[in-house]
């Protein structure tokens, strides 16, 4: 009796979920590998270099070579480090970066879990990645690592508020926290019915906060290789370092995918007429995500690193007031005939 309920309630749903998780995470990790390759190539061409071109055809096997190198490198634990936390920190950074994908919808009804409070879930889980950085910085028992961790903590708190307000705007317009229904609320004849237009300030604030939360240039003060060597992961080598790396790039893909879902109409084609509607929605979603990832790399190749106090000023004194004002604008618009512009 107990065994039978166990089988019905536990094993089959568990197996099914496991299958869905594998179907999402394996392409994701491959995407991470080739995002590092794309990054080196794109920045190479922007800086009039060739980028990696030795391993495989035009360097296409470079990420594989990097992965093998990282796997066989020795994991060094500094003698005065807190051993347990030092080894746990990369896991703490990696796990949330994978967990957030549970709620991301890839098409109508195509998500690992189509949960009701999806928007809250991704916001809550995405904020957990910083524990990996803070714990790594503290457990390394190194001043540079610690400085990096402190910077990351202050930066996260500043930008998470602006990010939260930007998402509040989205949920006001869509009237739901369910990510699938947020995309469906943007259905219309084309790209002018997506949320980036009525919620333009939120779109900018969310994407820039996303760049800041993933610790990417120009907000990469937590690493800041010219001032604090490599910040929080200065003591890590081999797979420990690789996990931080994987988490950072998976988070970049996640921020791009979520920006697509929230502001760029998810799986809807830019214009709803014949040749565009033939292409499956998943392809549109991936194309938009890939474009935003390119913007990530473009930003990195273009801008110098922000000074720390400038980052704080941008977060607290620019983004938070801007989002607060636009929340009021949207709130007023929803109560007047203007609501047809927003919804």
């Amino acid at each position: 009796m107990v065994l039978q309920t166990l089988e019905q309630q536990v094993w089959w749903p568990a197996l099914w979920s496991l299958l869905k998780i594998v179907v999402v995470l394996v392409p994701l990790l491959l995407g991470v590998a080739y995002l590092t390759f794309a990054e080196r190539k794109v920045i190479g061409y922007i800086q009039i270099r060739l980028g990696p071109n030795r391993v495989g055809y035009r360097g296409l096997l470079q990420p594989i070579a990097d992965a093998i190198k990282l796997m066989f490198k020795e994991v060094v634990v500094p003698s005065n480090a807190n051993r347990f936390l030092f080894l746990a920190a990369p896991v703490l950074a990696f796990v949330p970066a994978m967990l957030v994908w549970a709620a991301v919808p890839f098409g109508p009804g195509m998500a690992i879990s189509n949960m009701n409070a999806g928007l809250l879930y991704v916001l809550a889980v995405a904020g957990l990645g910083v524990y990996g950085i803070i714990v790594a910085g503290w457990a390394s028992n190194s001043k540079y690592a610690f400085l990096g961790a402190m910077r990351a903590a202050a930066q996260l708190v500043a930008y998470e508020i602006a990010m939260g307000f930007a998402l509040v705007g989205v949920l006001m317009a869509a009237q739901t926290l369910n990510l699938t229904r947020i995309v469906e609320a943007q259905a219309g004849s084309g790209f002018w019915s997506w949320y980036w237009l009525p919620l333009f300030p939120f779109f900018l604030v969310y994407f820039i906060s996303g760049v800041a939360e993933t610790n990417r240039a120009p907000f990469d003060v937590a690493e800041g290789e010219s001032e604090i060597v490599a910040g929080f992961h200065v003591e890590y080598s081999g797979m420990g370092f690789a996990l931080f790396f994987l988490a950072e790039y998976a988070n970049m893909i996640f921020v791009s995918a979520l920006t697509t879902v929230l502001f760029l109409g998810g799986w809807y084609p830019p214009i709803s007429i014949a040749p565009f509607t033939w292409i499956p929605g998943l392809v549109w979603l991936l194309l938009k995500t890939a474009f935003l990832l390119y913007v990530f790399l473009w930003i990195r190749a273009t801008f110098p690193r922000y000074r720390y106090d400038q980052i704080m000023r941008l977060g607290w004194k620019v983004f938070i007031p801007v989002t607060l004002v636009w929340i009021v604008v949207i709130g007023v618009a929803l109560e007047t005939p203007l609501r047809s512009l927003v919804r």
Binding site: L120, Y131, F146, M150, A153
Partner: protein
Amino acid sequence: MPLMTTVLFYVFSAILLGSSVLVITARNPVYSALYLVLAFFSAAALFLLVGAEFLGLILVLVYVGAVMVLFLFVVMMLDINLAQLREGFLRYLPLGLAVALLGVLELSAVFWTAPLGRLGIPASSLPKGTSNTRALGTLLYTHYLYPFEIAGVILLVAIIAAIALTLRRRPETRSQAIGEQVAVRAGDRLRLVDLREPQK
């Protein structure tokens, strides 16, 4: 309650209680803070188990995602003397026990008067089509509007008080005037001089 939920309830409750005890007994304050994170997490899982997804996720978002990050920030920065910290343990033990006892009494009073059946209703038994986020929002902004706004004002007072306590004018420090920096044009900083020899 299905079997699985019951099992998970006891697992999470055990983790919650265990980590709470470790918060006050851990030797290292950083470990204490991390155990507190674990305790919040388990509590959030318990909320999720009864279908109160809004409360569970907000607990993770606010306490784990923001409050505990700042806590860790401070705990790691301070050079805390462990021996000094432990000194007061026995002295404050009676007070702590009294507070705990009071809490237990209050809770049991609530459970005693309210029929258990009413408290045990899972949040998931809301009418179909209403999420509990919406239900909570509607309640907060209609029935409980005044208490909600008063709580907001109290928090605002606390924010202003904290700023007032730490704000000092220090004319001797050099700070940057951001407005002036942003308003600078290339012509203010750079003068192009023609160095060619005058044509004869």
